[in-house]
Symmetry: C2
Subunit: 346 residues, 2 copies
């Protein structure tokens, strides 16, 4: 059965103010009891099994001096996709929800949008129609909602949005929709002197606004898609960087190894993704000499999260599932391997 996101009631709800109000607004940091639990088991939100064991075995053998698989600290580079890998991407990439909310907020200054797609449909709350133009519609949307302001202003816009917008299924702020087991994995790798990077198709400026607090990854270790920016100095001598409506880099599929080279300059030892957009990142990583680890998150949990793979329009995982075994990648079965998905679960 083909799963069509555009007819999904949840998506529709997103743009019609379906924001169930639930308890708190705090950021996605584990609370104190969980932190204590982690001290004993750094991957306490992972169930015991082959996946957890494979991760721990790999980290131990690459960080034990004298091991034939020992990796020098300076080479311990780990890269992670973001959407659907560190946080949820359903029912729609969160950045796209942000973009649509921005369009609605900007509509007053753009009376022409009432008659121009995809804006018209967004303003009318018709997500299905708004996205019917595919990539072209989506790009128009992101460009219009992200360009023409300074980088500082954009950063503020993202933070303002995160402070108020809520996920339609959980009612949580979007930056709490991060996967607790992956936060633990990032911490565990860093505790073992791995440098953790995000390598995502998402917009780099959008991510940098919140990922340091969420994952402990500083801005300069976040690689993503980007528009061009322009340096301008005002008459009073104030310099600013203005976001342009022109693509700079698409950090997806073949773009991921390219981005890794241009921004990190080294081949990762450990790469983690969840969709066919991550295929080349894992392929490139595993082809290096010495020990390498490829990790693929399979979304199998329709109750706690969402279940989707080969036919999904968002985060499609098809070729990756076919080839994982042949390529030596470890596949996370979310339903089976994760004790909890979000930190706020009971």
């Amino acid at each position: 059965m083909k799963k069509n996101i555009l007819s999904c009631a949840l998506v529709f709800a997103l743009l019609t103010n379906c924001t169930p109000s639930k308890e708190d607004n705090t950021h996605a940091q584990p609370d104190t009891p969980l932190k204590q639990e982690q001290a004993a088991d750094p991957l306490s939100s992972w169930n015991e099994g082959a996946t957890k064991k494979a991760i721990i075995d790999f980290v131990e053998k690459t960080t034990t001096e004298g091991s034939t698989d020992f990796v020098e600290v300076k080479n311990r580079i780990a890269t992670f996709d973001n959407d659907g890998n560190l946080w949820s991407e359903q029912p729609l990439y969160f950045q796209l929800i942000f973009a649509m909310d921005r369009i609605k907020g900007m509509a007053e200054g753009h009376p022409e949008w009432k008659n121009e797609e995809p804006y018209k449909s967004i303003l009318e709350g018709n997500v299905e129609k708004a996205l019917a133009g595919g990539t072209k519609s989506i790009l128009a949307l992101v460009m219009a909602s992200h360009a023409g302001m300074t980088t500082d202003e954009f950063n503020q816009e993202v933070n303002d949005w995160l402070a108020t917008a809520k996920h339609p299924k959980t009612g949580k702020p979007f930056n709490e929709m991060i996967y607790q087991p992956m936060v633990e994995l990032l911490d565990y790798l860093r505790a073992n002197d791995y440098k953790t990077f995000i390598v995502s198709g998402g917009g780099v400026d959008f991510m940098r606004a919140w990922v340091e607090e969420a994952y402990g990854i500083p801005p300069h270790q976040v690689i993503g898609s980007s528009n061009k920016v322009k340096y301008e100095v005002s008459e009073d001598g104030t310099p600013t960087l203005i976001k342009q409506a022109e693509l700079n880099f698409i950090d997806d599929k073949e773009g991921k190894p390219v981005g890794i080279h241009q921004y990190i300059g080294m081949r990762p030892v450990f790469a983690s993704g969840n969709s066919d957009g991550d295929y080349q990142m894992l392929e490139y990583t595993m082809a290096g000499n010495g020990p390498r680890f490829g990790l693929l998150l399979h979304h199998t949990d329709s109750i706690r999260e969402f279940a989707y793979d080969r036919e999904s329009h968002i985060g499609q995982l098809n070729k990756g599932l076919d080839d994982a075994e042949k390529m030596g990648w470890t596949v996370i079965d979310m339903k089976k391997d994760w004790k909890k998905v979000y930190h706020f679960e009971k």
Copy 2:
């Protein structure tokens, strides 16, 4: 008087095998006695005076908790130009010397170069004529000598070159032509929890081959100009990244704040450069809120290094000298402020 690099005998010598053989080939690490001296004074190669004092005062006030100028660790970003700022750039950018050496090494496979500029002049040893076409000639040269190979192969080429090529004035390997006071400044900043980045007009792949050993700066903290790279998978499944003869990014002048945004994602607190190509980086840095430090290296030492500024074709410093005081930048007078320039000086 206009200083014309193209008539400089030294430049000519470069391409006619003027490689005075001097003692050792070791890398530019301070020897043990110097390291001990540094323990007492982290900037031991700097003479006492206003410049050294300004640097130390700034680092102390931004790292002392409770100080009104205290800067949180996560915001301690320091950016450094490379050519003429961390290592010498005279008599000609070292990367250009590498490119010309590469052209000579590749000539056998390119019989057409005998009749095509700028290759013809390089092969004939006529640097002046080779560079007469200005930027266009230089770009052609860099493209031809840097493209069409894998990123791993290029890395090897740079290392092979560094292992054999010698600077025409000192007879030292080029990666020993690094400024000892700046190596100390990088160490001093890192010891105070600053993250040090290179932000250079030079090629990023060229720099990443050697800067970690020279300056302790890892590849992912090196930002530079770049060509595009392409991801390719061979029939046997081996993925490679191939350097293309197409520009990706020019990290110079207005490009420096742009590169800082795209790669680091934060405004620096401390910026250090030596030419008008660094003007915008310092301007952008100083315009941030809170304490900021702009440092400009003025090449005033014709004996130990080279003396050049307003009229130089390489590393021209003109507007920067005019505006330094107004902009609140600290200017290093190399002759006066540096006790030694290179670690190998007696």
